[in-house]
């Protein structure tokens, strides 16, 4: 089978992600027209070619030996493990023509997850699409939910080995600190909180690889500077959106939220994600943001 590269374009220069699409030149005419606005229907969309395999390939970097999860429209379809150098790759085949949102995230040895990296993409029948150069965001966590001003707050996580990690601490005045990951991909920074004001703060990190490639940014992790130290609580209720405490945010949690939405009564505290005493689109949006499949 002769594969004909139709396009090979870097779509995100800041994160070095590239997407290529190929079609079998012997059986398929490369599509001229983009899919219609909205990505569906028959208007302008390439004609499906029965019998020609359609595939999507994913590759990139996570953390050494970390679990890498790929979702299709919010459903986990592939789980793989990154190699000791943090490289991962996975392939999906036999999918129908249409628009899909693929999301990729990694889970480190401590069980912390990276931010999901979504790709809404139109897949043409008979095309081999490659989404490469994905550099997943590091994981990030803190050891205390509340830290006594002047004491150290430990900020830690995983990323690509031997990378520079920029940690942004968002306060009234932004603080940027740096550290590096070990050969196993772990990083840890002791943040002196005497430079921070009393009150709520968030921290986010991003990796800069030795080849100057940059990862995506983590979701923010929050903590409070006060007059006492409090360890971060563990267990049920600590993961936003995990309504049934199974350490995942998926259709079950969506169903629980949908039940309270249709019941139109004040929901239980753990279901009311924005704590406004009702179930609205805002709660669903928060759930969708934290979705893990």
């Amino acid at each position: 089978m002769a594969w004909h590269a139709v396009h090979a374009i870097t779509v995100n220069t800041s994160t070095n992600i590239y997407i290529t699409a190929e079609v079998d030149a012997t059986t398929t005419t490369p599509p001229d027209n983009p899919p219609p606005a909205g990505g569906g229907g028959s208007n302008g969309a390439p004609t499906p070619t029965p019998g020609v395999p359609t595939s999507v390939n994913f590759s990139g970097m996570a953390y050494p030996s970390s679990k890498v999860v790929i979702m299709q429209d919010g459903v986990i379809i592939i789980t793989t493990v990154a190699d000791p150098n943090a490289n991962f790759s996975a392939a999906l085949s036999g999918i129908a023509q249409g628009s899909y949102t693929f999301s990729v995230y990694a889970q480190d040895k401590d069980g912390n997850r990276s931010a999901s990296f979504p790709f809404p993409i139109y897949i043409t029948s008979g095309a081999a699409v490659t989404i490469g150069g994905i550099i997943l965001a590091p994981t990030i966590d803190v050891d205390k939910s509340e830290v006594k001003r002047g004491d150290n707050q430990i900020i830690f996580g995983y990323s690509v080995p031997n990378s520079k990690i920029n940690i942004n601490v968002h306060s009234n005045e932004e603080h940027i600190v740096t550290t590096t990951t070990s050969a196993l991909g772990a990083y840890l920074y002791n943040l002196d909180t005497s430079v921070l004001e009393y009150g709520d703060h968030t921290a986010q990190s991003r990796a800069m690889l030795v080849n100057n490639k940059v990862s995506a940014q983590t979701n923010p992790v929050s903590f409070k500077v006060s007059n006492e130290n409090k360890n971060k609580p563990a267990g049920c209720g600590t993961i936003i959106g995990d309504l049934n405490c199974d350490n995942k945010i998926n259709l079950v949690d969506f169903s629980i939220l949908a039940f309270w939405y249709k019941k139109n009564e004040k929901p239980p505290e753990n279901v009311d994600l924005n704590h406004d005493g009702k179930t609205t689109i805002v709660d669903f949006s928060i759930l969708a943001y934290h979705w893990t499949g």
């Binding site: 779509v11 219609p36 909205g38 628009s99 949102t101 139109y122 169903s255 949908a258 994600l273 949006s285």
Partner: protein, 291 residues
């Protein structure tokens, strides 16, 4: 004075340059004209304008005296999970749904120069009476994919279709031959119907969209259901047979086995029969020993 004006202009330009573009929800494929009994579709689409969104709620209104609403197709929608499936009531078609992990514009791998808007729903109408018919987006809000569900209210848009007085009967048909995909599970959670056994399912169809889902519990009647659904048989002795139909009539089926092995009436009769034989043999033996 000139310096002040110049500085003000520079500040204004800077403000405009750094201003975040607001997402847009609009109708596309709206025909200028239509005929009586002629079917056509309009797409409700969202352009996130470089941002990332993850939820939408709102409605489309139309002139019911000049247009008949035929159906809503969700097969090509970028909405993954519907909170309220598109449903018409009078002149208003309401809907709400979310996109897990967000949507920041659709990539066409064959032309990556620009990201495309995402489709929310395709609405099929038919000409009913001559005149200028209105189709408008109404009270639509979207939520940003920012972890706090920031709501952005969209501007209403108005479109018109001139329905002529000539009849040109035609159907808009989606040549869908692919079955939907269906997944389902039964859960018990104290936050859901007080911990009862509840069936949750997700039916999707990338072509014409899912029309409806039916359930048969054991020998019970077939009923059209929505997720989440409280099972009638809370003992979980019944086999659950779930069918998802798309708009073109293709069907996907899954079966969920009972938790407790199902005992059929035939099996009960056999067990009873064997028990009777055993009792009879014992009775005969006792009589034989006594004699």
């Amino acid at each position: 004075m000139k310096k002040i004006l110049f500085t003000f202009l520079l500040l204004l330009i800077a403000q405009v340059s750094y201003a975040k573009e607001i997402p847009v929800v609009m109708l596309t494929h709206v025909p200028q004209t239509g005929a009586l009994l002629q079917q056509f579709y309009v797409d409700v689409v969202v352009d996130p304008k470089g941002g990332s969104i993850n939820g939408i709620q709102g409605a489309v209104t139309f002139s019911p005296d000049m247009l008949t609403f035929v159906r809503a197709e969700t097969g090509t929608s970028n909405i993954t999970l519907w909170i309220d499936q598109p449903k018409a009531q009078g002149d208003t078609i309401s809907f709400s749904g979310v996109i897990p992990n967000g949507f920041n514009g659709l990539i066409n791998p064959f032309d990556q120069s620009v990201k495309l808007p995402g489709q929310i729903v395709r609405l099929v109408f038919s000409g009913k009476a001559p005149g200028i018919a209105k189709i408008s987006t109404t009270n639509i809000s979207i939520t940003d994919n920012d972890g706090i569900g920031t709501i952005e209210k969209m501007t209403d848009t108005n479109n018109t279709v001139t329905v002529s007085d000539t009849a040109a009967p035609s159907l808009y048909i989606n040549n869908d031959i692919i079955s939907p995909t269906l997944s389902a599970t039964v859960i018990n959670d104290h936050n859901l119907y007080d911990g009862k056994s509840v069936l949750i399912f997700n039916a999707t169809d990338k072509e014409s969209g899912v029309d409806h889902v039916t359930l048969q519990e054991g020998d019970g009647e077939l009923s059209t259901i929505e997720s989440p659904y409280v099972l009638h048989d809370q003992s979980r002795k019944s086999i659950l047979l779930l069918h998802a139909y798309d708009m073109s009539g293709n069907v996907a089926t899954i079966t969920i086995a009972p938790l407790v092995p199902h005992t059929s009436a035939t099996a009960m009769v056999i067990v009873l029969f064997i028990t009777l034989i055993i009792f009879y043999v014992i009775y005969k033996k006792i009589r034989y020993v006594k004699n």
